[in-house]
Amino acid sequence: MADKTFFIDTTKCTACRGCQVACKQWNKLPATKTYNWGSYQNPADLSFSTFKLVRFREVVSSGKLHWYFFQDQCRHCVEPPCKDTIEGYVDGAVIQDEATGAVIYTGQTSKLSPAQFDEVRQSCPYNIPRQDPASRIVSKCTMCVDRVSNGLLPACVKVCPTGSMNFGDRAAMLSMAHQRASELKRMGFDKAQLLDADATRAVYLVVDDPMVYHKFSVAQNDVGINRKLALRKLLRPAKGLIAGVAKL
């Protein structure tokens, strides 16, 4: 099985939220208690039991109203900083699946203290990991690795009616992504761009400034590897260090 990647074309998203619900269904995640907070976006944020969330943003850009939808989820980074952070504290709490590249948290994450978890969350350039306050287990999108390793598409991709959610071999997805981006540019979407395509396995296509979709749509410089983490990394065995430097 080759290296896998999601291609998420936000221009084809109608925010039907099939992906959000299918994720909960396949992963047997409970619904959280929500209230209408003046938005269609609900739950309001990712949580221990919400791995996938469609974010809604109303944006006026070039004098025109847009309603942008962003199907937020773990990017399954090629070099996942969260993995480095977690492994600084707990061994065996993160697996990066060799076949797919999926970044998977295990039950061992429960050994992280809340403060250590905060550090994990801060190390994620996309603000993805969430901890269960009771069990302290940390969760996020699994790339439906149980489905994928059995030849099925991730639940969110399977359910998507419009072709916004795509999944497959990394090379094929990147080529699809680049092709669609240049097509959109040709159609006059000057800001059409892929987000962190080289560094992630969930490549988003947007047609406006990425920040208007979501604060963490692209890797944030003020998160990722902070000073404390960098220092701690220096004290770790060489393997982890090299990976850390490569990322820096």
């Binding site: 409970p30 208690k33 209230y35 072709g163």
Partner: protein, 807 residues
Amino acid sequence: MTNHWIDIGNSDCILIMGSNAAECHPISFKWVLKAKEENGAKLLSVDPRFTRTSAQADFYTALRSGTDIAFLGGMINYIIENKLYNEEYLAYYTNAGFILGRKFGFKDGLFSGYNGKTHTYDKSQWAFEKDKEGNPKKDHRLRNSRCVFQQLKKHFSRYTLDKVSAITGTPEKDLIEVYKTYAATGKKGQAGTIMYAMGWTQHTVGVQNIRTMAIIQLLLGNMGVAGGGVNALRGESNVQGSTDHCLLWHIWPGYLKTPRSSNVSLEAYNKKFTPKTNDPLSANWWGNYPKYSVSFLKSMFGENGTPFNDFGFDWMPKADDGKPYSWLNLFDAMFRGEFTGFFAWGQNPACSGANAGKNRQAFAKLDWMVNVNLFDNETGSFWKGPDMDPKKIKTEVFFLPAAASVEKEGSITNSGRWSQWRYKAAEPLGDAKPDGDMMVELFVKIRELYQKEGGAFPEPIMNLKWDYDTDGKFDSHKVAKEINGYFLADVTVKGKNFKAGTLVPSFAFLQADGTTSSGNWLYCQSYTEKGNMAARRSTVDKSGIGLYSEWSWCWPVNRRIIYNRASVDRYGNPWDPKHPVIRWTGKKWVGDVPDGGWAPMLLADGKTNPKTKYPFIMKPEGHAHVFGPGRADGPFPEHYEPLECPIEKNLMSKQFINPTVKEFGTAADARATCDPRYPIVASTYRVTEHWQTGVMTRWQPWLLESQPQSFCEMSLELAKLKGIKNGDKVIVESARGKIEAVAIVTRRFKPFKIAGSTIHQVGMPWCYGWVTPKGGGDSSNLLTPSVGDPNTLIPETKAFMVNVKKA
């Protein structure tokens, strides 16, 4: 739909108006986006509110709810003024060239023949002038001043940009953008389609909204072609099927008419409803009416129906002349205590019906109610609902738990008229039963009682043919075969011999002499000696335009795009050679099943082919109706204000509202137009996350998590005016009721400039109800009016007046 879902992908321009397809028909966007990506199709979204559909549109603009005829009337004017129509199509396939009689006229918002006392028209004044054979006189050059085209031009010349803009609130430049983009499909080889739903139908001018678009489609030559058509997006997976099989009161299956008390015999009934033509070139397909009505009666009464008792015609219910029995009428009668028992079968009128508060009060007048549903709902539990005192309510309610769609076998007919067979995936839970099983048990019991006790008029029950069960259970195959129909005797039809007891191969073989049965002539061919056509699952598309003719089965006779003989010019060459629906080879048609196999209208030398038939075979004159003299409220559409509206006069004429509307007038039918207490226009709608009234989805935690509570969307400007902040609780109130909701303050609503003043609009979903979830709010249908379109009596829930204040 005249076309079908996949066909949307063939379009060059898609107008989504009167629907919110991305949210309410999410799968349709697979095809909408395909058209955009592969054909470079333009997507236009016209809606009072910027929706998830608008988010995908190339161009979006807003109009005030209830002003669609003005908006589209301006488009007709634009098309004619700029000569963007397909003249050959218009002149030869539509009645645009027909000459109108001298009695026809239009003045001050009224057509000729209006009777102010009865609020009805004498439609005979809208007749065509006839030649000596009795056929309409025609001018194919469309120049005669009394021809339909010239009258259309005159009528819609009044819909000028400034006037339309003043009525709709849509800026003139936006009107031009929509008109120009859509009218470009009038070019030969281009196709434009309309996707509409309840946003057009649920108005007192609902039928005329759709008529206006039908006229546009005929002007542009968009009917019958791939990527064109008039496409109603049905609100449930099987609404098309239930309509085909006469869910509504005014029809028998297959759109045969419900007899009236004045239809004293089968002969009189058939005579009344069988149209005639003297034109040898008109196929006049409804001329076959008696074959279908008699075959239907044979399905109803089997051997008990004979030529000597009119095949049981007298056993069928008759409607009183002039009296409607629609949804609104039934609930009004219930409210007045005119009947005592009610089956609420697979529905939730306490939330789904317009003026739902009236319905809730009406339930209290009943002796009994049987609520057949998957879950408890606001209808079955009305007696313990808001403002109800259970001690004072006598109604006895029975709840029968029903099996879900995946727990039973049968067919579902989608919007594209495809009858698709489905299989049972799981056993029903607990005591739940399939609806069919309940009906079998119920009928057997009713017949037993009639047998034992007699009673008034037992003949319809005792003579009914009822052999649809196998071992006491409903058998969907037996029903499907009866719907198709059988030969009841050994007969020879069209030179072919058929054995008694075999299935009829298609409706062309049905007979009026009692030798055939068919529960629904339109579905004759769906289940034949070759097997269950609806169960076919071939993914081969020989057409190249996505017809997938051997996937399931489609009425009529598996024709995937109806009126397809209008997709070609008079020689039989497709208007669009890239997307041919059918094509004449010189000897026969190839492609889709043609609308009749007759040769094209012209021979190679340009002379009329005497063997041809006009393409619109369901019309007596064979021509599509630009001029529609059958409608209750006029042969051309005309803008009238909704029954509740924010302005004091109709800018188009002296006639304020639809002159043929009738109101119910009970205390529960209060109406407040141009009333300072209710200054804000309101509309209701659905959301992706909930299904209809939410009976099935409000119990589903994941869906509830994503849309937990009723909301009211409003503009920043209105919120500021009312001191409302995003997320505040608000009270929305109409003359009929009030609800609490969460304010969504959004740029997606903007105030309108209507006739110089600022008019605000809000919108609310109708999918919530007090039973569950607690604190989720109640249905916005508590606010909507129970007044209906004069043709269909569909209620005007999409344009009414409210006030909004902070809770």
